[in-house]
């Protein structure tokens, strides 16, 4: 089959259609983002006649999208940082250190994955607003990170499991204490897993809608994903939806994720698969 001409053509056709299927919606948004509403209504598949993308982008920024992007960066950076530090510490402790009831505690951490967010969001929201933490980017970043701890700890522990205990024993004999071992050996050795976890978390936090929408309510602290959702709800109430403006908002909001995607593309693939192959 491999050598047959028909087979080869068929495979190429499958590949090409896969590429088209995956890229078409994005392509569609790109070519239409620079059209007026009227132009979009009459011709959706042609290239834009007059290039007004710049004006559209300006309008998007005047709606606060520059600010929303900055807010997203603050929130996501906070949560990724917190998640990486504490997941690697706990992963190290659960795999390499000794303390009573270790396995029981680890089991407890992992079983938290089974508690759906809906089962605690309402009292959590009330608690958060009582403490004045609603509309606080750092606090919501902390919240995101906490919800990712079970996965992060699991990932780091299974990565550290492959690092031989002898390495730690010999460092201990050389007089290193447990924190020095963490800081000087486990943290640098864990770099591949940390990057992986960081990239996965980046996409998760950046793209998350539910929590960000509920816990960040005022315009000043709005992050990008709920902002896009709001833009479409706002445009929905009018009789005509300004689709080109929405597409333009989409383009502005995916610049950073796409950048991260292209920089870490290999790590991302590896990261997604690492979870699967270890699981």
């Amino acid at each position: 089959m491999k050598s047959s001409w028909i087979g080869k053509t068929l495979i190429s056709l499958i590949s090409i259609s896969l590429i088209i299927i995956c890229l078409f919606p994005l392509f569609f948004a790109v070519i239409n983002s620079s059209k007026t509403e009227g132009e979009y209504a009459t011709s959706k598949f042609s290239l834009p006649k007059n290039f007004i993308l710049f004006e559209k982008v300006k309008k998007i920024f005047s709606l606060g999208f520059g600010n929303y992007t900055l807010n997203s960066i603050v929130m996501v950076a906070t949560s990724v940082f917190i998640c990486l530090i504490f997941s690697s510490m706990a992963g190290y402790a659960f795999d390499k250190l000794e303390f009573p009831k270790k396995n029981l505690i680890y089991f407890g951490v992992i079983s938290m994955l089974a508690i759906p967010f809906q089962a605690f969001v309402i009292p959590l929201f009330v608690m958060w607003s009582r403490w004045g933490l609603v509309d606080n980017l750092v606090a919501v970043g902390l919240l995101h990170a906490t919800l990712e701890f079970p996965f992060g700890i699991f990932l780091m522990k299974s990565f550290y499991h492959n690092i031989p205990d002898e390495l730690i024993d010999s460092a201990r004999i050389d007089g290193a204490n447990s924190f020095q071992i963490y800081y000087k050996i486990m943290l640098p050795l864990g770099k591949p897993a940390l990057i992986t976890l960081g990239v996965i978390d980046f996409f998760y936090f950046w793209n998350e809608l539910f929590i960000s929408m509920i816990f960040l309510r005022s315009n000043k602290v709005r992050v990008i994903t709920p902002a896009i959702a709001r833009l479409q709800v706002a445009s929905r109430s009018g009789r005509i939806t300004d689709w080109p403006l929405l597409f333009c908002g989409i383009l502005v909001s995916i610049i950073i994720p796409l950048l991260v995607y292209f920089i870490f593309q290999k790590k991302l693939t590896k990261g997604i698969t690492m979870g699967a192959l270890k699981g």
Partner: protein, 299 residues
């Protein structure tokens, strides 16, 4: 570990235990505050009438009775069940695709793999908006249909109660199938090539190879993806539904998490919303229990 008899060594050991707890103290404390405490509060508030900021008033099982009597919850749950029934599509279709790509590498392989990961980089919100625009009355799909002379097919796709949920499921699948295929591809390249060659030498046809070599080799990946998809049903479908239909038309696409959101955060029926949350938890426990049971049976 040796058993130490001297008390000095023992004391040092206890001290080191205490120090070791410090590594897990912060995440455990945070999870306790953010997850455990509100979780138990959810259960206790589910027996009250509560607007979130008033004093909760104990009403016994009234919310639970209401939940089943009003029918909205069961209606929403039936939509989650429909989504769960589509889960095999997530597991099987990318597997088939991955095997086809893996066994017939061509010059487009790298481009294909890269394109298939692009949807993963887009948020579900953005994917939802893009597909809503495609299915919209004045959207590109209808324009194509009109140009093909199929005007009778050009209707508001997401406005059809019988169709909207399937379109949402299709949208979710579009975002996921690519990266799942990529995972399978990685799993396939982990299968020892010698085993595949041996199968070929022994004269196994593609069906035998698929069933006896590829499936067992990919078993951990398949289990992982199944678990992920079932969790995603409750965790992630909210975004698509909220963006694409807001549960409509009527309540034809409302899922339990949207039901909870609307009751809790729009109508401020927080006691009732806690009841919904408790029920979701019970259902997940139920599903997980069966999943573990089925898996342990298979070994």
């Amino acid at each position: 570990m040796k058993i130490d008899s001297t008390s000095g060594v023992n004391r040092r050991k206890v001290l080191s235990y205490l120090l070791n707890y410090l590594y897990i103290a912060v995440p455990i404390a945070l999870m306790f505050i953010v997850i455990i405490v509100p979780f138990f509060q959810t259960i206790s508030y589910s027996f009250t009438k509560w607007s979130g900021f008033s004093t909760p008033k104990f009403v016994g099982f009234k919310n639970y009775i209401l939940l089943f009597k009003r029918g909205y919850f069961l209606n929403a749950l039936s939509h989650n069940a429909t989504i769960a029934l589509a889960a095999p599509m997530w597991v099987i279709l990318p597997l088939v695709l991955a095997v086809i790509i893996f066994q017939n590498p061509n010059f487009l392989l790298k481009t294909t793999r890269m394109s298939m990961l692009v949807p993963y980089a887009l948020s579900m919100t953005i994917v939802g908006i893009m597909f809503r625009s495609i299915f919209h009355v004045t959207g590109p799909l209808n324009e194509v249909l009109k140009n093909m002379g199929l005007k009778f097919l050009a209707f508001d796709w997401l406005g059809k109660p019988g169709l909207a949920l399937s379109l949402i499921i299709g949208t979710a699948f579009w975002r996921d199938f690519g990266w799942i295929t990529v995972i399978y591809l990685a799993g396939l390249s982990n299968i020892d090539e010698r085993v595949l060659d041996a199968a070929k030498v022994d004269g196994a046809n593609w069906r035998q190879t698929f069933i006896h070599v590829i499936i067992p080799g990919l078993n951990p990946v398949i289990v992982f993806i199944t678990a992920l998809v079932l969790i995603a049903d409750f965790r992630l479908m909210f975004d698509y539904v909220y963006i694409m239909t807001k549960g409509g038309p009527g309540r034809a696409t409302e899922t339990v998490e949207l039901h909870l959101y609307e009751e809790g955060f729009r109508f401020m029926n927080m006691g009732y919303a806690c009841t919904v949350g408790s029920m979701i938890f019970l259902i997940i426990v139920f599903i997980t229990y069966f999943q573990i049971k089925v898996m342990s049976k298979r070994g």
